[in-house]
């Protein structure tokens, strides 16, 4: 078990390094975008004086390196800073916004991130069992009409852009047969049932996007094992094909399946941007889009860090779980 712990620690260390690299890249690329917050927020009112005043207020006139390290030290001490938009408006109002106060990025992100997690959870609860079932059945009845239909269906849904899937779902499930609402405007004081109902269409869209990958990996991993001698032995003993697959093949196929599931869970957290905009879902993706539009660097940075952290952690989890599910990896020679 010690080796597992060691791997986790080493991977976490690497993860922190990755996060650092990501933050440098994000900072550079946001800075390379033409225009800055002052110009974006002022629009036609962008007289040189007004731009200079806002840049002065937000410290945008400092060199990029200084700004980056100011921000980095803030993050290391748990302070994600104040979003430019909030800082700018409190400058309008002439009141101070403190660390971690109403205007802080952390306070702004938290409810949005919770919403995104909720959506990811609902999608995962639908898509994981669904794709496992579909995959196992496809392995069981491989090369049958069912197998082909499932493959064609999931592959075409993963090949379509998300917004297209979203509009197809809206057309069929909200307009033609109004089962679900087309707007997913959930908010804090909503009952769980309402919340689930409102989240259903974006969750289904995400399900359509991630199912193909997981389902095909399940199918492939199982079929791969079906040629092994121990499976043949089991079949010779007269065990039913279903039992062969679920009891004998599946446990050994878990490692690659878990890997793919974790990757797709990461996608559920980070890939929601377009889906959230289409369904007006108040999650982190929508906030991200709004912030990029006005070049609100602190918010964009924080969102990117969250996305990167989600990827790193879920990948780590995938590795750990596949080690645990595989005795050979658990006890390396």
């Amino acid at each position: 078990m010690h080796s597992v712990l060691f791997i986790v620690i080493r991977r976490l260390g690497l993860g922190v390094l990755t996060l650092f690299a990501v933050s440098v890249m994000i900072f550079l690329s946001v800075n390379m975008l033409p225009g800055d917050f002052a110009e974006a927020i002022l629009g036609q009112g962008a007289t040189p004086e007004a731009i200079a005043a806002i840049r002065e207020d937000l410290g945008l006139n400092k060199p990029a390196v200084t700004r980056y390290f100011d921000w980095l030290f803030g993050v290391l001490t748990g302070d994600f800073g104040t979003s430019f938009a909030q800082a700018n408006f409190s400058a309008f109002a002439g009141e101070a916004t403190g660390k971690g106060g109403i205007g802080s990025v952390a306070a702004q992100l938290e409810p949005r991130f919770m919403n995104t997690l909720f959506l990811a959870m609902v999608s995962a609860l639908i898509s994981v069992p669904l794709s496992l079932t579909l995959g196992i059945l496809a392995a069981l009845f491989r090369n049958s009409a069912y197998d082909r239909a499932v493959n064609i269906g999931t592959l075409s849904s993963i090949s379509s852009p998300e917004f297209f899937l979203a509009y197809v779902l809206i057309l069929f499930l909200a307009v033609l047969t109004p089962i679900f609402p087309s707007l997913s405007n959930i908010y804090a004081d909503m009952s769980m049932a309402d919340r689930l109902e409102r989240t259903m269409l974006p969750a289904l869209t995400l399900t359509l996007v991630v199912t193909a990958h997981m389902m095909r990996m399940t199918r492939a991993a199982i079929i791969n094992l079906l040629a092994s001698p121990y499976i043949e032995m089991a079949r010779l003993k007269g065990i039913s094909p279903f039992r062969v697959i679920v009891v004998h093949a599946l446990p050994n196929a878990l490692a690659p399946i878990i890997n793919v599931i974790a990757l797709n869970l990461a996608y559920l957290v980070t890939g929601v941007v377009v889906v959230e905009v289409v369904f007006v879902y108040p999650g982190i993706g929508q906030l991200f889009v709004d912030s990029v539009k006005i070049r609100d660097i602190p918010v964009v940075q924080a969102c990117c860090l969250i996305f990167a952290a989600a990827y790193i952690l879920l990948n780590l989890m995938a590795d750990v779980l596949s080690i645990i599910s595989n005795p050979r990896l658990r006890h390396p020679k």
Partner: protein
């Protein structure tokens, strides 16, 4: 002298003008009498996570609508038919030179937290705009006030640095909201105003829920809904979708691409008005060749305005006449001779300028207005026939306002328009102001501008502003090919009075006050 202005009293007398300006499709025959009840649900574009109840920062539709049109009030209000009436002010008087204004405030008005409204609130709310470090968009208006005095608890006197006959109009500006004195910060944080609806829940950039207050001074004339719920939907397709699927009852900024689909839906109405919003091509008249009035005239005749309205606005607009005063203005000169596309006249003026042909650059980007580059290309094609070759320079959208506008000799631009003639002219056409994008130096025009500002006599002002519009149209340095309509849509569950405000979108941004359930 008791002085009550009537915004379009004259225009109303000439009903023909009204018919020409208000494109409202009032086809639905009999409108029901207003009655209380129902919940208004709207999908509104123009919301940001940085939105707050600070009127000084309001610049996008969501807060404009819910600031002065729902939760807060101003001193004065422009009605749907364009008349100026008192909102928190009951009435007002001016000194003959339009310098000293006395406002009598409404009594028995309370803020949503129970605090009674009075003179102190007005003074403190006005001073917010000129406070140290405050970057209020209404600063030019308020800083023109030299002295503020509380006469009684419900009467104030404002002394202006220079006479301004439009001052009560300016007090209807959506930035100048009335806050409770001594608790302005709290009011900004929680949205405590005197409006018809009080804030129940506000998640900036996401959603606002308001409920009707009991017993309001506007009872009987406005505020028919029990509650208002506005969802921020900046994405155009999602917004149209929300209306089509009945998730909301009204949306702003209709997406023209799916207009036919909306029209095909029997439960949806599109309502549109021509306001003051206009698209322009300003030229720096102190830069050659635009210094020559004949070159400017040649360019005025070389543009096919109707074609631009048809192709750029897809018909949702009205041709302009090279002056910035729109149908929502009080002294809009509707009788002014319309500039038409005429390549021969353009050629003639080019000859007068001593040229056989002319080659010039026109800088454009879709940041100037949606379709600006296409509009410049249409201009290029129509000017070709007059021997003018326009080279369309496509500029980057980012930084357009800081690098191109006010800098390049000829470019594309837009104006949302201003409520008063003087405000519009003095924002962009008075010599020496920062946003003057044409540098047009015409002595007569500048003299009239100052005369009109302090003139209280309505007939004389009409003469002045009509002459200014005619001057600009004939010789000015800005091509104004079109006014863009405000196009919004609603479900047939809602209905409204005979007029629709055209100052802003969504019935002058006061849909929550003026509309009711059919």
């Amino acid at each position: 002298m008791r002085y009550q202005m009537n915004r379009r009293g004259v225009l109303k007398a000439g009903a023909a003008t009204m018919a020409a300006t208000a494109l409202t499709p009032l086809a639905t025959a009999a409108r029901s009498e207003p009655s209380r009840g129902g919940d208004l649900r709207m999908g509104i574009a123009g919301a940001n996570t940085s939105d707050s109840w600070d009127g000084r920062t309001h610049s996008d539709s969501f807060m404009i609508m819910h600031g002065h049109g729902c939760v807060f009030d101003c001193l004065t209000e422009v009605t749907a038919s364009g008349e100026l009436i008192g909102e928190l002010a009951e009435n007002w008087e001016a000194s003959p030179d339009a310098k000293v204004w006395t406002f009598n405030l409404r009594k028995d008005v309370t803020f949503h937290n129970g605090k009674p409204f009075g003179a102190d609130d007005v003074l403190e709310s006005l001073m917010m705009h000129t406070a140290e470090g405050a970057k209020s968009a209404a600063k030019p208006i308020v800083s023109a006030i030299q002295g503020m005095e509380k006469l009684t608890d419900h009467q104030i006197q404002l002394t202006l640095a220079a006479g301004n006959a439009d001052f009560p109009y300016l007090m209807s500006d959506y930035h100048i909201l009335m806050y409770p004195a001594g608790m302005v910060e709290e009011a900004i944080a929680n949205g405590i105003g005197t409006g018809l609806y009080k804030v129940e829940n506000f998640d900036p950039g996401v959603r606002l829920v308001c409920s009707r207050v009991d017993g309001h001074y506007k009872d009987g004339r406005a505020g028919w809904f029990d509650s208002v719920e506005s969802i921020a939907i900046n994405d155009a397709s999602a917004r149209m979708n929300a209306l089509m699927t009945g998730e909301v009852d009204a949306v702003n900024r209709v997406d023209f691409k799916i207009e036919t689909l909306l029209r095909a839906n029997p439960n949806i109405e599109i309502f549109e008005v021509t306001g003051n919003q206009h698209f322009t091509f300003p030229m720096l008249t102190n830069v050659d060749p635009f210094t020559d009035v004949h070159v400017r005239k040649a360019l005025k005749y070389a543009v096919n305005r109707q074609e631009m309205v048809d192709k750029i606005l897809l018909g949702h607009g009205k041709i302009g006449n090279d002056h910035p005063i729109g149908p929502a203005n009080q002294y809009y000169h509707s009788e002014l001779e319309q500039l038409e596309y005429d390549p021969d006249k353009a050629r003639f003026h080019l000859k007068e300028a001593g040229m056989d042909s002319l080659a010039i650059d026109l800088s454009a980007s879709d940041a100037a207005f949606p379709g600006a580059v296409d509009a410049a290309q249409l201009y290029q094609a129509s000017a070709e026939a007059a021997g003018i070759s326009i080279n369309v320079v496509q500029e980057a959208a980012d930084g357009y306002w800081s690098n191109v506008w006010l800098k390049k000799p000829w470019c594309a631009c837009y104006w949302s328009g201003r409520a008063t003639e003087d405000w519009m002219f003095s924002t962009a056409y008075e010599l020496g102001v920062p946003w003057n994008d044409n540098h047009w130096d015409n002595q007569r025009f500048q003299d009239l501008l100052f005369e009109g500002r302090a003139e209280l006599d309505s007939d004389r002002r009409r003469e002045i502003y009509h002459e200014m519009q005619a001057l600009m149209s004939a010789e000015g340095g800005t091509i104004i090919p079109m006014y863009a309509n405000y196009v919004d849509a609603n479900s047939t569950k809602l209905t409204h009075g005979p007029d629709l405000g055209n100052l802003w979108q969504m019935d002058g941004s006061r849909i929550a006050e003026r509309w009711w359930m059919a």
